[in-house]
């Protein structure tokens, strides 16, 4: 009976506080703008601006061999969607083009190409790539190999003998058969959007209240620390969820990213992630109390790790072990992993279970830390 009474009274206090908080957010338009405009801007920037898919790479084709075989091969490069070839007479000219970065690669067919093919010898085709952008260079080499394989298969189909390679690779890319990098980037981006809302926005706005002294006024009311936390976090939780909905919707509609898992599972995992982010944001604001420090801290422990140590763009398994060890402490790592799996693979519980467990643990720890920090302020 007594506990029920306490609970009822707590609920009443909370209702009043929540009303005040939502009024505050509604009247300060900048938070809503940040929560709704940021996802849209980020998605468009990343969706259009960041692409790892190589297409129409400018290449120089040098045919020292004037035979029809060599011409036929050059035609193959022209037909490929990956290359945009220009015919160059001499290798020296092509080198100049590569130096000036007018082309990204040179395909060089030596003068004895047809002769070697006719005499049943190995006919080399030289491909020189600009290695400055190593990632693109890898992809260009792979595509060039693909063009050669296609050409020899077509020759074989026409009855012209080219020895097929002894071992041929049949490649299958699961979960993303077109190897479309937007399908890989957009799910990870949701984590970045939610980090910005959950950590940066929350830390900034609450630190501003500390700075202006309005937090002291709230602390002087009969509200308990736990109630203040709920009242402060709930509005930002809703803003974060709106950002999530917006990101997922735009990703589906504008960029055509598949969504193979179930929305309810995604909702569960994003709730856990958002709670962890909000806990971190509240902790930063309570510890820093000044907007400048809160902004720096949330960029350093929130934004940068969510970008670089989460697997959103860069693959973590290839990094040295100390980096991997740090990444395990980053909530975004688990959410990016869950996001990739739910968008592209489906409800794979052997992946999602661990992610959910880690996120729940982090959310719990961060919120308890933030609450104790807030409690100290109350007494102090």
């Amino acid at each position: 009976m007594n506990t029920w009474h306490t609970f009822q009274r707590s609920l009443m206090r909370l209702r009043g506080f929540l009303r005040k908080e939502s009024l505050q957010i509604r009247r300060d338009f900048s938070s809503i703008a940040l929560a709704l405009v940021m996802p849209v801007v980020l998605l468009f920037l990343f969706g259009f601006g960041v692409s790892l898919d190589v297409k129409n790479v400018p290449i120089a084709v040098v045919l020292d061999d004037r035979g029809s075989e060599a011409h036929d091969l050059a035609e193959r490069f022209a037909l490929s969607p990956f290359f945009d070839p220009v015919r160059v007479d001499r290798l020296a000219t092509a080198r100049q083009l590569l130096d000036r970065r007018a082309v990204d690669a040179i395909v060089h067919v030596q003068s004895d190409f047809s002769e070697r093919l006719a005499h049943h010898a190995a006919a080399p085709v030289q491909v020189i790539v600009n290695g400055t952008d190593s990632n693109q260079a890898h992809l260009v080499q792979g595509y060039a190999l693909g063009v050669l394989n296609l050409w020899s298969r077509q020759r074989a189909a026409r009855g012209l003998p080219v020895r097929p390679p002894a071992v041929m690779i049949q490649q299958r890319v699961w979960f993303n058969d077109a190897v479309n990098s937007t399908h890989f980037l957009v799910p990870g981006l949701v984590a970045l959007v939610m980090t910005l809302i959950g950590v940066l926005l929350t830390a900034l706005v609450i630190a501003r209240e500390w700075e202006r002294g309005t937090m002291e006024a709230v602390l002087a009311t009969p509200l308990r620390a736990g109630e203040i936390m709920v009242g402060k976090l709930l509005p930002y939780f809703l803003l974060g969820m709106m950002g999530l909905g917006l990101s997922v919707g735009l990703g589906r509609v504008v960029f055509g990213v598949p969504f193979r898992g179930s929305p309810s599972v995604y909702l569960l995992l994003s709730t856990l992630f958002l709670l962890a982010s909000l806990g971190l944001g509240l902790f930063i604001s309570a510890a820093a109390r000044v907007q400048f420090v809160a902004a720096q801290a949330s960029i350093i422990v929130g934004f940068l790790p969510a970008f670089f140590l989460s697997g959103l763009l860069f693959d973590l398994e290839s990094t040295p072990w100390p980096i991997q060890a740090i990444s395990y402490a980053i909530p975004a790592l688990y959410f990016v992993s869950a996001s990739h799996t739910i968008f592209l693979a489906g409800d794979v519980w052997s992946v999602l279970g661990w992610d959910a467990l880690a996120l729940a643990g982090m959310a719990f720890v961060l919120i308890v830390l933030a609450r104790s920090r807030l409690g100290q302020r109350l007494e102090g």
Partner: protein, 377 residues
């Protein structure tokens, strides 16, 4: 002229002191460069190591083992286990137990000896599309090498000389081992210079506004042009210092080659820093508080970094966005830094990057000057 110089000189000293005495500004000069150096140096990599793969060898012949041994010997791949039947593949891939599965069908050695092409199925996890395509490239290279060395040695297959074959000979210039670390770190100086210069210059006016000292500065006997120059110089010096420090660290710590001329690097960075300081002072003149300056800088930095070609090529963007990147100064300095470091660029070869930056610098400095006069007059 001389009194102007003296006045600007004293103001510059004052601004330097303001930066170095204020702990917050000190953090801006020291913090981001160190953090970014390590984050970009170690975490921002497109290289592949230790790609976890599993093997489903249904042939279990000497030939299949020979091919598999090549994968085991490669530093790119790390074997995590063998599978017994193809029904296990789905579960393993789903739970990311392996990112690549090599499936050798039972007819592998028979096909080889019958003179037909033997198939090997390579299944990769496409959740990270880039890892998928690069890993496929490595797998193809390993198989191509196997073919080149063993292609003609199987009974039933025509000897190597009897039928022509095609060979791809690949070479990479400027970065022979294709290390993405060189690609990222060589351009880092430009990025760091931008962040440091932008933060310091955007805070310079708004800090004084917030502390109320800006009015004192305005009533002091300085012309607004002199104040502007004095506000611009210290961030520029700090930015240049950080950029050159990181250039040295890139060479000494990460072993990135420096093949071009130092003069070209310094000139390119100077022009670039002029572009950025104009933007920073523009933001600072607009903002009433340091908070607004910080948010303004953040809003400027994000799209500029993404649309600069720093991590992903500009050529992959849609055409209209590529046109948009032409007004992004970071685009030019990133290209210029890479050219100087890796391709041996000199002043004449980086000229195509220099003049657009000079135009942008003229535009940003002029508008900062205009706004500064209007907001302070």
């Amino acid at each position: 002229m001389a009194p102007t110089l003296v006045r600007v000189g004293t103001l510059v000293i004052k601004e330097f002191l303001a930066i170095l005495k204020d702990p917050k500004s000190r953090i801006v000069v020291i913090g981001p460069p160190i953090i970014q150096f390590f984050v970009f140096g170690y975490a921002a990599t497109f290289d592949l190591n230790n790609v976890r793969y599993a093997v489903l060898d249904e042939d279990r012949s000497a030939e299949s083992r020979e091919l598999l041994a090549r994968f085991q010997g490669s530093p790119t791949f790390r074997l995590v286990g063998g599978l017994d039947s193809s029904s296990q593949v789905g579960d393993l891939m789903d739970r990311q137990g392996a990112r690549l599965v090599l499936h050798i069908p039972p007819t592998f050695s028979r096909d080889l000896h019958a003179g037909q092409s033997a198939q090997v199925q390579v299944i990769v996890d496409g959740r990270n599309s880039n890892v998928a395509s690069v890993a496929l490239g490595y797998a193809s290279a390993i198989v191509a090498q196997y073919n080149a060395e063993h292609g003609g040695n199987f009974a039933g297959r025509a000897p190597a000389a009897a039928e022509p074959s095609l060979q791809l000979v690949s070479r990479a210039w400027f970065n022979a081992n294709l290390q993405s670390r060189w690609f990222i770190i060589s351009a880092l100086g430009g990025l760091i210079a931008m962040i440091v210069v932008l933060l310091l210059s955007s805070l310079s006016v708004s800090r004084e506004r917030e502390f109320g000292t800006f009015d004192q500065l305005l009533v002091a006997p300085f012309r607004s042009g002199e104040i502007l120059v004095a506000k611009a110089l210290p961030p520029m010096v700090c930015g240049m210092f950080d950029a050159l420090l990181l250039a040295a660290a890139a060479v000494l710590w990460f072993g990135v080659p420096f093949r071009g001329s130092l003069l070209a690097l310094v000139v390119a960075l100077s022009v670039f820093i002029c572009c950025v300081v104009g933007v920073g002072l523009f933001i600072s003149s607009l903002s009433a508080t340091m908070q607004q300056s910080l948010l303004g800088s953040f809003i400027f930095i994000m799209p500029n970094v993404i649309l600069s070609g720093f991590t992903t090529p500009i050529a992959n963007m849609p055409r209209w966005l590529q046109w948009g990147t032409l007004i992004n100064p970071l685009r030019y300095i990133v290209t210029a830094c890479r050219e100087v470091f890796l391709q041996g660029g000199t002043l004449s070869t980086i000229w195509p990057q220099l003049w657009p930056m000079a135009l942008i610098a003229a535009a940003t400095l002029a508008s900062a000057n205009w706004l500064f006069r209007h907001r302070t007059a």
